[in-house]
């Protein structure tokens, strides 16, 4: 029975990875009409390298991801910390924070677009940052909350008992303890933003496009191996990010005090 399940799992894994691997392989295909393999070439990658607009879009994607990561990590951590105590309206508060996760991303995207349109605020990378932050806030809050739950609050009291002010106790004791969670949340926010398409598509201006948007328009317009090349680059970039994130999360937090 285990053998059957194991074989099935292998099949599923193959189904998960085969399309990606095939697509990546064909990014080196000479033929434009990507049905048959006609020869090895790096032309499509060269085209990417020559595409100045693409570079700008890549830059946009990075700016968007970094900006929203910074803001949403701060806000999300604050939200998680506030959620430790009980207060009036806490249920409403928790629901509010969780809202972006409870609906498909298109709902959030359109709501933001309607908002910006209603206040006559022109769309730009900035509006996309705002939209992403609202979305990421929830995820960061969830990740940090999970970390907080496992934390014994009495260490904060112990620090205060030993003479630290509440603020100092927070920075010297609580923060180092939850730092892995905060970092995880930040990495999550960055990845979600970097890969996001729907929210960016509806909340940014055509001049401030990002990489995923480029893929979308390329596919809608004409399918060429250039898309394969770009996709491969994006995938490898994601992979590099994941590896880096894993390495960061393994590094022991300095100053934790043992």
């Amino acid at each position: 029975m285990r053998k059957l399940l194991g074989g099935f799992t292998a099949l599923v894994l193959a189904a998960l990875y085969a399309p990606i691997l095939v697509m990546m392989a064909f990014s080196f295909n000479e033929s434009k009409y990507s049905v048959r393999w006609t020869g090895f070439t790096l032309d499509w990658y060269r085209k990417l390298a020559d595409d100045a607009v693409l570079h700008r879009e890549f830059g946009n994607t990075l700016i968007l991801a970094v900006s929203t990561t910074v803001i949403s990590t701060v806000l999300g951590t604050m939200a998680a910390l506030a959620a430790r105590d009980s207060f009036r309206g806490k249920r409403l508060y928790t629901m509010l924070i969780a809202l972006p996760v409870m609906v498909p991303d298109i709902v959030l995207a359109i709501a933001m677009r309607a908002f910006f349109s209603a206040v006559h605020f022109p769309l730009s990378l900035g509006t996309a940052v705002i939209a992403h932050t609202t979305f990421n806030l929830a995820y960061v809050a969830v990740v940090v909350s999970a970390r907080l739950q496992g934390l014994d609050r009495s260490i904060e009291l112990a620090a205060q008992d030993l003479g630290a002010s509440p603020v100092r106790a927070f920075w010297k004791v609580t923060m180092p303890a939850i730092l892995p969670g905060v970092v995880s949340g930040a990495v999550l926010a960055f990845t979600l933003s970097f890969d996001d398409f729907v929210i960016t598509y509806f909340t940014t201006s055509p001049g401030d496009a990002t990489l995923p948007m480029r893929i979308y328009s390329m596919v809608r317009f004409a399918v060429t191996p250039e898309i394969n090349a770009l996709s491969t680059v994006i995938l490898l970039a994601s992979l590099a990010l994941i590896v880096a994130a894993l390495k960061i999360s393994r590094v022991p937090v300095a100053g934790g005090g043992r």
Partner: protein, 247 residues
Amino acid sequence: MKGRLLALLAAPTAWLILFLVIPTAALAAAAFSADGVRALAEPVTWLLFWRSFRIAVVSTGLCLLVSYPVAYFIAGCSPRWRGLLLFLIVLPFWTNLLVRTYALKFCLDPLGWSNSEAAVVVALVQSFLPFMILPLYSSIEKLPKRLLEAAQDLGASPARAFWTVTVPLTMPGIAAGCILVFIPVLGIFALPEFIDERSPMIGSQINLYFMKNSNPGAGSALTLILMVLTITLTGLYSRFKKSEGLV
């Protein structure tokens, strides 16, 4: 203490009110415009909702059927294998859905397997497997092995033990996985556009209203309905989760 709490609450709450609550109100306002109401009156709209709902249900169901054996298998592996397999399953989740969808399209097109609702379902199932496998795995892994032994000891064949003990006790994982897949699938738009242009879902229709037809009112109306629908579903799920009280 109270002052600190207020300081912590202030910024996120202000942000959310400004950039979540008010936008929702703006959405509702746009939805109830003349265009919006007209769009809701059209039967085409509701046919679209029905089709999207149908696709989402079928995709979620198939995803569950494919994911359960995989999650079960991984849960029974040695810790080293478990870590590796889970990593492999989760890795695609960390990459761009658009890129993965394109990869699927790239493989399906030459085979002539795109351009049908079935193709969309297959693409959806493949794309959302990690979302279903993880919570399932988590639930199955928590199941005490002794309970299955007890069931067999009392006379239940392995199949019977599976249906009377394993499935009921992994319900929380099943429910979580289904919600995690159903909600995003309901509102998805790039994937169906890539795989089969001719069977649009709500998401692609919203895109059409905004980007092609310049009808933000109609688009907002559809979005509002989608929002109400998904919040209701998630709300029901939360209530169900609390009342059962299972691990």
